[in-house]
Symmetry: C2
């Protein structure tokens, strides 16, 4: 069973409630190491009127204690959430844990605390000076994004960059290789309607084919499908055969994914020296510390990702 | 109850089986007028070993009889399927029916018969010299496409054409106005990831906003939403509030649609002097006349579209 460092996110948000309520569930598939000081844990548990599980293992000396102010954006909470994240990453760097799972932080709170990163992925790229690959999904279906946050008009030229696309395909394969079953293929999407319809509706599929070919030579085996017609790729019949998808751009992959699995999705950073997952929702200040029932599917899936098969 | 002309499609394919097996079902919501000669009907029914319903109303004098050759691409079948389609359209032109529903034809068979259109929509644009709007979907969710079969790199410049987009929004509104409930909004999608994130990830959303504004002035009411973040537009929560979507490009709308409702989808041609629906599948030569159970959801939905509410 893998040991996973869990950073607590913004303590004014819902993260700590997810942690406390799901401890006994997640223990069934990973060994959690929660990056929170005992005093902060007790404060949150009191506010939430939730018991602290007897075998709750904290990694302590995270940062300076502060008074939790539910649903507020504060400098202190921003600073603490960044320190909890740093601690989790450092544990993974030192191989004291097998991976990191991050609960949501608030970007404005990081800003108030003088943390200049826009989010976890941004920080990880800087920590490791590496090109993280962003993958989102659920155990039924994961979508990795070749391009992420760029205007749509820039996507075709990025796809025409054969070297970059080849490297992406090779990197992605090695990032998930240990999870791929023998003969399991990864669904590689085309760019244009009908995957270009033999060049009539765009020719970037030709570059995708060439990148695929070179990647296969470098990997030494055939892993990726031919560029698939994008609007057919996610039909139920297709989904039976594929768990992993490569989308050429953000909405090509995420619109079908969120249509199908909105509440269950997680975010995974691959191609780094460590593996990091996170929930696919925010701090949810509107329902934090209101003693409401939370949807815990994303949290459970973010940890289930590390389940040893 | 509306009268609908049904063109039989390629008689070597599955269309006629759908017709015969679903007659009693569709009679509950429309009055069908099947565009097929009695001799051809009897030939197909014999091959299928299916009874001809006693109240089966044929529009006759379609074209020259021929021998059905299941699953084959033939000139005779191509010619007949085009004539059946022409007959259905002419009935609608003369207001003898309220709409047209087309069963699948085979493009190669049309080619063999000297019919130079690529498909029904192409032919309709020529018959009426009008800009048909292509809409696909199910009674739960319809997606109209602003751009259709063009390479992805051409999409942003098409969206930047404010006049064309405005006209599209006005035309689409009038095409579905009679079906819109009071205060029902149509979901208008952005183009870029996160709908441009205030211009950081592209600025075409600004054109979409302007086109929307002008369209609202021309229509005299507020119908369309602000440009919605594309990967959030189709989540279950959103879908509760919208039946109609405007997608800026083919896969933006059709990938989520087919992920959710693959077998049930239909195709609708709007903005023509007549309304035409069709199934969203082909002639299925691989299972034609094999006495197999067919999936009839698309056929039923294509006719249910005309159901008088």
């Amino acid at each position: 069973m893998k040991q996973i460092a869990i950073s607590v996110g913004d303590l004014n948000g819902i993260g700590i409630q997810l942690i406390l309520e799901n401890h006994y569930r997640i223990k069934e598939f990973i060994k959690p190491r929660y990056c929170i000081d005992r005093a902060m844990l007790e404060q949150a548990a009191n506010l939430l009127k939730l018991p602290i599980p007897h075998d709750f293992h904290c990694v302590t000396e995270i940062g300076q204690s502060f008074t939790i102010t539910p649903s507020h954006i504060t400098q202190a909470s921003g600073a603490y959430s960044f320190q909890s994240f740093q601690k989790a990453v450092n544990l993974a760097k030192k191989k004291e844990v097998d991976g990191v799972m991050t609960l949501p932080i608030h970007k404005k709170a990081w800003e108030l605390a003088g943390v200049h990163y826009k989010g976890h992925t941004d920080a990880l790229r800087d920590f490791f000076q590496a090109e993280a690959i962003m993958m989102l999904g659920t155990p039924q279906m994961y979508v990795a994004l070749y391009t992420e946050h760029i205007p749509l008009y820039q996507v075709p030229q990025a796809v025409r960059n054969r070297e970059k696309l080849t490297r992406f395909l090779v990197d992605f394969y090695y990032a998930i290789a240990s999870d791929l079953k023998t003969d399991e293929s990864v669904s590689l999407l085309g760019l244009n309607p009908h995957a270009g319809d033999n060049g009539v509706l765009g020719d970037e599929e030709e570059t995708i084919r060439q990148a695929r070919e070179t990647a296969h030579q470098m990997i030494g085996k055939c892993v990726y499908t031919e560029p698939i017609v994008p609007d057919v790729a996610f039909t139920p019949q297709r989904r039976k055969h594929y768990r992993y998808y490569i989308a050429m751009y953000h909405d090509q992959g995420l619109a079908p994914l969120k249509a199908l699995y909105f509440d269950e999705g997680i975010n995974i950073s691959l191609n780094l020296p460590i593996i990091r997952t996170s929930v696919d929702h925010g701090t949810a200040f509107d329902i934090a510390y209101r003693h409401q029932q939370l949807n815990n599917l994303s949290y459970l899936n973010a940890l289930r990702y590390f389940k040893t098969t």
